[in-house]
Symmetry: C2
Subunit: 236 residues, 2 copies
């Protein structure tokens, strides 16, 4: 008879759903400050410990942000906030799943590059060129990797879809690429990578979407094929 006790799942899970629902229904706006942990616990009729677990869960999901000594706030719920967790997938995937992930990236990256070719502004293009030259001016793998990431990041942003850019960012996270690169660049793929980047840049300058799509697909596809061959060799 107690309508307040459907009792499904753990209390923490229920608290997570309650808060998610509040945000979904618009009762909590982005950037807004939540009641204190202690108050929230009382409101939902659970202990502060359980409430903290719920808050921690929503924090790692990029929905909430806890500031020590200040309070708990709803994030802006932008692509960057919510898709940060996507990096975890890339970091923990392995073997065949890594290849699949790279295939997804190839599809999105080629489309994003094609869109960028049609929409990129001269300012953005200048930024892309900056990373391209910086990338070619050093031999430090760390620096190269950083500019490589920024190179593609800038292009994805120029495509005009922040959500897609955020996903691609996750699919190219530092640890993910570092893992793949470790063996890849030992096969003299440096020069090839530079040629591919140059081809992408040319297509952008020419504002040729089809050429850009092809160049980007080939670029990611190279790594993808190499990885595919590596996975096959993993007999263990």
């Amino acid at each position: 008879m107690d309508e307040t006790a459907p009792q499904k799942g753990t209390v923490t899970q229920r608290a997570i759903d309650r808060i998610k629902a509040m945000i979904g229904e618009g009762r909590l706006e982005p950037g807004q400050r939540l009641p204190t942990e202690r108050d929230l616990a009382v409101q939902l009729g659970i202990s502060r410990s359980s409430m903290r677990e719920a808050i921690r869960a929503l924090t790692v999901l990029g929905v909430l942000e806890a500031r020590h000594g200040s309070g708990i706030y709803v994030t802006q719920l932008e692509a960057g906030d919510l898709l940060e967790t996507f990096g975890v997938v890339a970091d923990l995937s392995r073997g065949p799943q890594l290849v699949e992930l790279l295939e997804v990236r190839r599809i999105l990256e080629s489309t994003a590059t094609a869109l960028a070719a049609a929409r990129i502004t001269s300012d953005q293009l200048a930024e892309v060129e900056k990373h391209l030259t910086a990338m070619n001016a050093t031999e430090d793998p760390e620096v190269i990797l950083a500019h490589d990431l920024a190179f593609h990041r800038e292009i994805a942003t120029a495509a005009g879809n922040e959500t897609m850019a955020a996903i691609l960012d996750g699919l190219s996270s530092r640890t993910f690429r570092a893992r793949v690169w470790r063996g890849y660049q030992e096969e003299g793929a440096f020069a090839r990578t530079r040629r591919e980047h140059a081809a992408i840049h040319r297509a952008l300058v020419a504002r040729d979407p089809e050429a850009a799509r092809a160049a980007a697909a080939a670029h990611v596809g190279e790594v993808e094929q190499w990885l595919r061959s590596q996975v096959v060799d993993e007999v263990r």
Copy 2:
């Protein structure tokens, strides 16, 4: 001088990173059982409360799975486990971001459908047809939605990339589509949806990737355009 105390961030965050690292380094295999919460807390030198928060965080990320009374286990780390959080993004996004998300889905869904046209087996095709007829045989929006989801799910699976299928699943989660459909289907889009599904099915039967890509892109694009017009009207 104390090398055991780099002291970066909260202890809970450190615990999360430690466990993630253990899995990344292969010290924890998929399916393996972890030490008890109490033991883990001692090992990492933190309290059980903090350790529980870390475990809860990794649980919602789909990395760990806690079974009451039994223990904590590493998931299989498959696409489905890790990409479940993708649904949260779809559920909490709104306005322009929803359009961007649908654009991503259009890109992936069209490619997946094209791949499926080339690779789908007769068994899988029969399954697709089952959902297609079931979807056309009822007027119950709930049932239609369920079969619609399964229809696209089956196609994505036939494309041979489980990771992509899992992402598309998240991008088509129940609450996400229910929200969009609420107003969409009131404009007599039912008949159109059926025609589009039929077109996709025809392309699959004909094993025509290009036709399949076009049909899928048009299908998602329809909803996307409608949503785009709705967002523009939201003056608030």
